[in-house]
Symmetry: C2
Subunit: 568 residues, 2 copies
């Protein structure tokens, strides 16, 4: 699927146009589709080993970005959550390098603009194809920066992230071709000659876009903004999280290669690496050249960006308080198993992991009769225990804690309330230095004022709260207040009552949030599929955008109209 050196843009369009068309169909139809295989086997024999070897070769070396203006200093900031320091040095971005880099990045814009939406889409799809071909290497890079277990790093960091990137390319293309390139406008004037004007419409990128990456999902959360900005005619400056540089550095290098081969300026994409504590995102974000920002991370900085980077269109995914309303079920074991998996996957370090489980104090009804609040919580704890009872399986699901802050929060959890499920340390035989912990469940009572402080804020990591509420109505009210004040990336509900389901929907319509109802089996509240599911609603405080929709791309370019009197 990739194309060789010296490729013309026409060849790139020939190669990728069918994929673009299929992706356009997918975002409109929203049925299942992916061009990126999920299973490692699909990448060929020996691919996993080659990926590992490529990753190992990068470790302990300098990551060169030939041609990019740099400061001359190097920084190595990555330590695998599995133990080893990566020892990869990146060019450190400082103010002087930024001053040199931004004009150079802008210099590539006119040719990139002239290329048009279709060529830009084809170049983006070529970048994605080359990333896809190196999925096993990306899997290692994501695993050893995020702490995701191998299979998750492979899938979420590889094909699923690539899907999200391609989805953004498709939305970007669709949005840019809504307006024709050229039109003859003719207004009747009664008996006089009509007014005749020739109008040309050109999608023009805003300038330089800044991508501020996150630690936990550098590619999955980074690709949508990266490709949406590039495909709409912007240059993209990538500022990765200092502990998750490699996946985005690889992306930048591949993008620079493809751009140069296709005859564009490689500096349309550049890397801004920093030492931990440099805080360059804050300086970059308010530079006048930066016109688009994509950010995933904590709420405080996200809100700062929204208020201060007024010269840019700012897209943020921040923190929320994901909530599950448990009213009743006709598949009790299915519900418990499903929730246990969602609480455990990647040690609850997903922005979509449920945090607050709202359960009526009087208990719930199930297909085999009523279950009290204490029983439900104990049964859920048992389901988690069962899921993670085998250490090999536990390691494969949990991955490693991404940083000390998560561990500290987990260790502080017992102080918040009665522990229904204690966290357990799991040994990882392959990586003995990894911090692997099973999730904790803490019982709280919604009617006790001191509980509020615990469950009303995000507690990122493997801690969830089984919150006893007076009734399902109270749960709905608490959900509404949570969505309004804190937001949520995900909401789930379990109920056999169509009326309760309807009320849940109403709350999620009123304070826009994405709702999963009665999930059992292999579909989980914390997972969304590109081309079909929206990731977040963009309508509550957890995020101001969704990955991905028309709104996610429409502010990244402007349509510039040039009017001329029509030639006679």
């Amino acid at each position: 699927m990739t194309t060789g050196i010296g490729t013309t843009t026409a060849q790139l369009v020939d190669t990728h146009r069918p994929t673009l068309d299929r992706a356009l169909e997918a975002i409109a139809g929203r049925e299942f589709w992916t061009p990126h295989p999920e299973h490692p086997k699909a990448y060929g024999e020996g691919a996993a080993e080659q990926g590992k070897a490529a990753f190992d070769a990068l470790c302990g070396s300098r990551f060169e970005l030939p041609g990019q203006p740099v400061s001359g200093e190097w920084v190595a900031t990555e330590v695998s959550p599995y133990g080893p320091e990566l020892g990869i040095s990146y060019p450190r971005m400082d103010e002087g390098a930024v001053d040199a880099l931004l004009p150079v990045m802008r210099g590539g814009l006119p040719a990139w603009r002239k290329a048009g939406a279709e060529v830009r889409a084809a170049v983006c799809l070529e970048i994605l194809a080359r990333i896809s071909a190196r999925t096993p290497e990306f899997a290692q890079a994501v695993m050893h920066t995020s702490g995701q277990a191998f299979m998750m790093a492979f899938q979420a960091g590889g094909p699923h992230a690539q899907d999200r990137g391609m989805e953004a390319v498709a939305y970007a293309y669709a949005e840019q071709v809504r307006t024709p390139a050229r039109v003859s406008w003719e207004k009747p004037q009664g008996k006089r000659d009509p007014l005749r004007v020739t109008k040309e419409f050109t999608p023009a990128g805003r300038g330089v876009a800044l991508l501020i990456g996150c630690n936990t999902f550098p590619t999955w959360n980074g690709f949508p903004g990266f490709f949406a900005s590039l495909a709409t005619g912007n240059a993209v400056l990538v500022k990765p999280h200092p502990r998750a540089v490699l996946p985005l550095a690889l992306t930048v290098r591949i993008a620079r290669e493809v751009l140069a081969e296709a005859g564009f300026d490689a500096d349309l994409v550049a890397l801004a690496a920093e030492a931990e504590g440099d805080g360059i995102a804050k300086d970059l974000a308010v530079r006048p050249e930066i016109r688009v920002i994509d950010y995933t991370g904590g709420s405080a900085f996200g809100e700062w960006l929204e208020s201060h980077a007024r010269q840019a269109r700012v897209h943020t995914e921040k923190a929320g308080v994901n909530t599950v309303v448990i009213d009743s079920t006709d598949d009790y074991q299915g519900m418990l198993a499903n929730l246990a998996f969602s609480l455990s996957l990647y040690s609850g370090q997903m922005c979509t992991t449920p945090q607050n489980l709202l359960i009526p104090a009087a208990g719930i009804t199930t297909e085999s009769g009523p279950r009290g609040y204490d029983e439900v919580v104990a049964d859920l704890a048992a389901a988690v225990d069962k899921l993670l009872g085998d250490d090999a399986r536990a390691n494969a699901l949990l991955g490693a804690l991404v940083n000390e802050q998560v561990r500290a929060r987990l260790e502080a959890a017992p102080s918040l309330g009665e522990v229904a499920l204690a966290s357990r340390t799991v040994q990882n035989p392959e990586f003995p230095d990894a911090t692997v912990r099973t999730p904790a469940i803490v019982k709280l009572d919604a009617t006790e004022p001191e509980s509020e402080g615990a469950y009303q804020d995000e507690c990122f990591g493997p801690v969830s709260f089984a919150v006893a509420v007076g009734s399902t109505e109270d749960a709905l009210e608490l959900l509404r207040n949570t969505l309004r004040s804190k937001g949520a990336m995900t909401v789930a509900g379990y109920t056999t009552s169509s009326e309760v389901a309807r009320q849940l929907e109403e709350v999620c319509f009123d304070e826009p949030a994405q709702l999963s109802l009665n999930l059992t089996g292999g579909v989980y509240v914390n997972q969304t599929a590109a081309f079909s599911d929206f990731h977040g609603s963009g309508g509550n405080p957890a995020a101001n955008c969704t990955l991905c929709d028309g709104d996610f791309v429409s502010g990244r370019f402007r349509v510039v109209e040039v009017r001329r009197m029509a030639e006679d």
Copy 2:
């Protein structure tokens, strides 16, 4: 085209679906189209007189809004720029009334959401049809609040504004139906059964939208945001400019009638009138219930909104410095006449009126040889004089100055530089109290530092600056800096050089601005046509949106997804 009392929503859809389809075609094709006739004659015999009579009947009376929660106080704030006080009293909005009103407005949202995009569009088109039927009355209302001359108030305040409103309805509808309402998602799982999920996608409005109207174009600048918000499922609180309440108050009353007749809550649309100086927009804008804001007005408050109303999606049209680059022409008289008209229309009180005319100090080339800077400026002054030489014609073009600030700026203009064209007072025999002034042209030298202070800020009203620049290259550089630092709603250029035209385009691509090249005859830089031209680019400091495009509507609603395991 309007539909009677007791109409079902199905009837509304039947009535208006063909118009919606045609409007959807128009925004995609961008050729000339309007369903709203421009000529007063099209509204039937006696329509103008009936409109005048309806307006006269409103003057001096209370404007009732049956059913809307109000404070009990009344305010009358409108004085026609043509002299007479309107004496129309509106319910004054105060904090208590807001506290009562906002929950009531939210109360209508669920049914409005459930109605779906098509019914909402049909209701909006019915509102527009009733507004259209009362165009002569709106013409009077716009004329006697904005100071526009009658024909302009009729056309820009009537059919052209209605076009813009319908365009917004079409964009809103198109955006909401990009995602199907329901889809079956089926993911293959190798030899196991596929995962099957039913997904429902519901466009959900954000909540209550706030429209902050302006004095000069209450309907033209107000309708796009009003209809975009309503059509995407929001309630709309209309806060008109205290000196231009009536056009939007009529809109609110008509909308409330149509909503109620169609079975929706009339309070989905409400009026917030205030006494001059109440400043309620600032309080309303940061209310948590307000999720969308549309604003037209000065830059200072627009920027305040963008920074502070973080809970809302904020659309602003602020001030810019519109610029014309005059390099050369092969139709000198055509250029002069075209510019003279644009400088004169509505006394230069359009956000699209050219302000800075950049002319090389060494002069320009024309089809009949070179013309020096002084000659070009003198010839332009003469063209304006000629255009406005006849008082009747002058009155028909100029209208009246909208307020004292505009008059003060005009009177201060001679202090800024050498006056090339002095403003002249025109008597309006019909309205002797109207302040009617012809435009002034002031000569400035771009190389003199004191000139910069004059031409680098917006000087709203009938003052333009003939700025002598070193060369066309200097003009392009000045244009670039102006666009970057101040922005512009419009840029125009006159050149016979394809290279200069190309450079002008590049500047307008780099710092997104809408460009008109070599306009002569009846097409003017300060006029845009709905369904074809974009109003502003949304990509420079003059405005953060364009009226209207996909981006103008995409943030006004969120798509809420509800996922369920598929039934077997």
